[in-house]
């Protein structure tokens, strides 16, 4: 029972948001950095979209009795 997954959706999404914001942060973007950021952004978007296609939700029944 582990909480971490190979791709953490929330983290990847946040990074993508940051990259998108970076593109708006400056008037004159550095082309080299821009291309690197763009590449990373596309990579993240790809991973996120792949995760989106995950359809299964798991349901665990907790057997514990709640005697108070």
């Amino acid at each position: 029972m582990t909480k971490k997954k190979e791709v953490n959706f929330a983290k990847a999404f946040e990074e993508l948001e940051q990259i998108t914001q970076w593109f708006d942060s400056e008037e004159n973007l550095d082309l080299d950095k821009g291309l690197k950021q763009f590449e990373r952004g596309l990579e993240l978007a790809g991973e996120l979209k792949e995760k989106l296609s995950e359809v299964e939700n798991k349901v665990n029944d907790i057997k514990e009795k709640f005697a108070v």
Binding site: M1, K3, K5, L16, F38, L42, E54, N57, I62, E64
Partner: protein, 402 residues
């Protein structure tokens, strides 16, 4: 005394006569209204309940006699006359007057507790926590037999995937309910942090105040309040409210709505990701195009320079052509003059006139004093040549040795 035989109708008439002896105007009956209903917009009926003695008085009246708004759960006082209805054999009170006396016991208790918790700050909006945008683990607290369970999971699956739902089966009504729900909150909050759900969802379908008692229970409200995990509470239909709702971080209107509040929809998130992709692409294209324009300007000025050079070259060429046309006849006649002179001094023409050309070792001899007696010279005539030996020079010669 001999027993009298009555028909049913006669007997009930007698009973009603006896009931009529009760001084109805002076008798006020107090109890809690339940099962209040109005039939055909005219006939009002309800039960007047006595909680202590488990007694029920069936009441009947017309809509016109009803001067105040009453509803089930209200505590009221009524004045009326008791009657057995012959046709149905039922005993009812024909109510003349109804007056509310505060709220019904449950309502009253509910309101009192609500006020108490509110004063304590359990509903304070400032302590409400937001939910993580993308939850991975959900703790679901509901009955597996409730429609709410199915509704929640269905909407969850429709909207999102990859989530683990830890479900604790609890009674959502009845005597066990409070104990179960409080236990479930304790269970989830006691988990090690890594195994703890990101959000707890407490839900059940709608119901009357009595059905919802567990969700209005002080212990449950306090369990929701002290949960370190954010809580979404969803009870029944839109209009149903419960104290657990007010305490929860997020109040959802229905179990389905709870699922909507907990997970985003795939299509929304997909759209958002694609919008970000497009935006990045536009920006990077802008940057690339800006660089492209710089290069274009540079190559533009280079080709301008080249063009100017070509232009100059063409102009020069043209001038040369024009000049050439003027000069060529001059050059031609000059050349012809030179050729004429050259032709006149052609040695062959001189030789043809009888002169001869004398050479020593291939060099033309022009001065006789340059050769000595005995020197071999070549003599070139107009036709042919021969070799000769010098016998004397300028009259002075070497004696021939015999």
């Amino acid at each position: 005394m001999e027993a009298q035989v009555f028909s049913v109708g006669q007997y009930l008439g007698l009973v009603n006569q006896a009931l009529g002896q009760i001084p109805s105007a002076q008798v006020v009956v107090e109890g809690e209204v339940s099962d209040f209903r109005i039939a055909q917009g005219k006939w009002v009926s309800f039960d007047l309940k006595d909680e202590q003695e488990e007694a029920v008085l069936k009441c009947f009246m017309t809509k016109w006699q009803l001067k105040v708004e009453i509803e089930s759960g209200m505590r009221v006082q009524v004045i009326g006359s008791p009657k057995v209805y012959e046709r149905f054999g039922t005993f009812k009170m024909n109510v003349q007057e109804v007056a509310p006396v505060g709220e019904g016991a449950l309502q009253q208790a509910y309101q009192l507790l609500k006020k108490k918790l509110e004063t304590e700050g359990l509903f304070d909006p400032s302590r409400k926590r937001g939910l993580p945008r993308f939850v991975e683990r959900i703790g679901l607290i509901t009955s597996r037999d409730a429609a709410a369970f199915g509704d929640f999971l269905q909407i969850l699956n429709n909207r999102w995937g990859g989530v683990t739902v830890s479900h604790t089966h609890v009674h959502v009504q009845g005597r066990e309910a409070v104990k179960d729900i409080v236990g479930a909150f304790a269970y989830f909050n006691a988990l090690p942090e890594l195994d703890r759900p990101d959000v707890l969802v407490l839900t059940r379908g709608g119901g009357g105040l009595e059905d919802l008692h567990a969700f209005n229970d002080e212990q449950v409200a306090r369990a929701v309040f002290s949960s370190t995990i954010p809580v979404v509470c969803a009870v029944g239909h839109e209009r149903d409210e419960s104290l657990a709702d007010f305490v929860a971080d997020v109040r959802a209107s229905t179990p389905s709505n709870a699922a909507e509040r907990v997970v985003p929809s795939r299509s929304d998130v997909q759209y958002e990701i694609e919008t970000m992709e497009r935006h990045m692409e536009e920006r990077i294209t802008d940057v690339v195009q800006a660089h492209g324009r710089v290069i274009e300007r540079a190559t533009g000025s280079i080709s301008f320079i080249l063009e100017r050079q070509k232009e100059r070259f063409r102009a020069i060429q043209e001038r040369l052509m024009v000049a050439g046309e003027d000069w060529l006849p001059l050059i031609r006649s000059e050349l012809e003059g030179v050729a004429r002179v050259l032709r006149q001094v052609d040695p062959k023409r001189v030789l043809a006139r009888g002169y001869s050309l004398v050479t020593v070792d291939g060099a033309v001899l022009t001065d006789a004093s340059k050769v000595g007696v005995g020197t071999h010279v070549g003599v070139q005539l107009a036709a042919g040549s021969f070799e000769a030996e010098v016998k004397s020079v300028n009259g002075k010669g070497q004696q021939k040795l015999v």
